[in-house]
Symmetry: C2
Subunit: 170 residues, 2 copies
DNA sequence: TTCGTAACCAAGAACGATTCTAAACATCGC
DNA sequence: GCGATGTTTAGAATCGTTCTTGGTTACGAA
């Protein structure tokens, strides 16, 4: 279940949140009149289970252990369906991984992201407190939402316990 | 920093800024002990001349008119060289164009971006005034920089004069 | 000037991520 | 259970990007 080490502490709470996210996502599928299939259930489980903003590849690998016949297209299709149903967001953060690779975020509540320059980990950050009335910009641009990406070093990497260099080479 | 239609007004100024960006970028190449070649000069010109955050494809097309033998690899190589020399930034903004496509920004001063949800245009936005002392996040993440992406509608699209639908299909 | 070396370029192959296609299959309302 | 319709599969296709190869050019030293 848990992903990172630090999660153990929050155990119960996180467990509950996840369970509700799983049911929430499945309900959203229903609401969007999309069918409930074993593949979709499995993908929702594997996906929602991961706060680390997995790539399609990562979700596919996890899934493949349980359902070895599942195809890549199904992962993409399901994620697209979830996104349409409002239970998933696609993230593209330059420099996080190899660049240009999509990451998927099961947390659709407004929030920001912190990206570690060294290990590439992406973490959720609560959005700044205020409702931010979002005044139009000087040139008349009507702001509907603001996304922030914090770049820097995660605590682990600051302490030298980083997983691996960011590997820019292909 | 003005970008589109509004630029006419700033005519002179923009011309100067561009000229200085061109020389600045070329000097930076020199400083990084990279050679000054016709291809590079042409790419710098085509690139710096465009505040619209062009893709490699767009730069290539513009270039191709002037130097029909230039290859795609040269465009990428040169942009990478410019980036190393500190005269270019790579942007990846989900939903801006086809998604996952890199855009290149000749403006390396700290600033944010506004993306129009309808026409996909990306525009520079001056970064918020304060120096933002960048306190570490709750979990010990050391913030080194913040990037903001404003999403919404540009003035043109608000007024119904949009270029084209965002075209999510490939 | 002539060489040698290193940087550069063009062309196209290779690559990885994502999407499409066609046919088989499963789901759900009846 | 039946059938219409939505899904899955497997693999091919596509797109953006990078790598490779082989030839070219710039430039400092002799």
């Amino acid at each position: 279940m848990s992903t990172h080490a630090s999660i153990e502490k929050a155990g119960e709470k996180a467990g509950e949140r996840r369970a509700s996210r799983v049911t929430g996502a499945l309900e959203a599928l229903g609401r969007a009149s999309l069918r409930m299939t074993p593949q979709r259930i499995a993908i929702v489980r594997a996906f929602v289970d991961d706060d680390g903003h997995p790539t399609a590849q990562q979700i596919f690998e996890r899934l493949h252990r349980a359902m070895p016949t599942t195809s890549f297209a199904t992962v993409y299709n399901t994620l697209a369906a979830l996104e349409r149903a409002g239970s998933c967001r696609t993230l593209r953060i330059a420099g996080a991984t190899d660049d240009g690779t999509a990451r998927f975020d099961p947390n659709v509540a407004p929030h920001d992201h912190a990206v570690c320059d060294r290990c590439g980990a992406v973490r959720d950050v609560p959005a700044p407190a205020q409702g931010e009335p979002a005044a139009p910009l000087d040139d008349g641009f009507e702001v509907r939402s603001v996304e922030r990406v914090y770049r820097g070093l995660c605590e682990r990497c600051r302490k030298g316990a980083h997983r691996r260099p960011p590997s820019r080479a292909r």
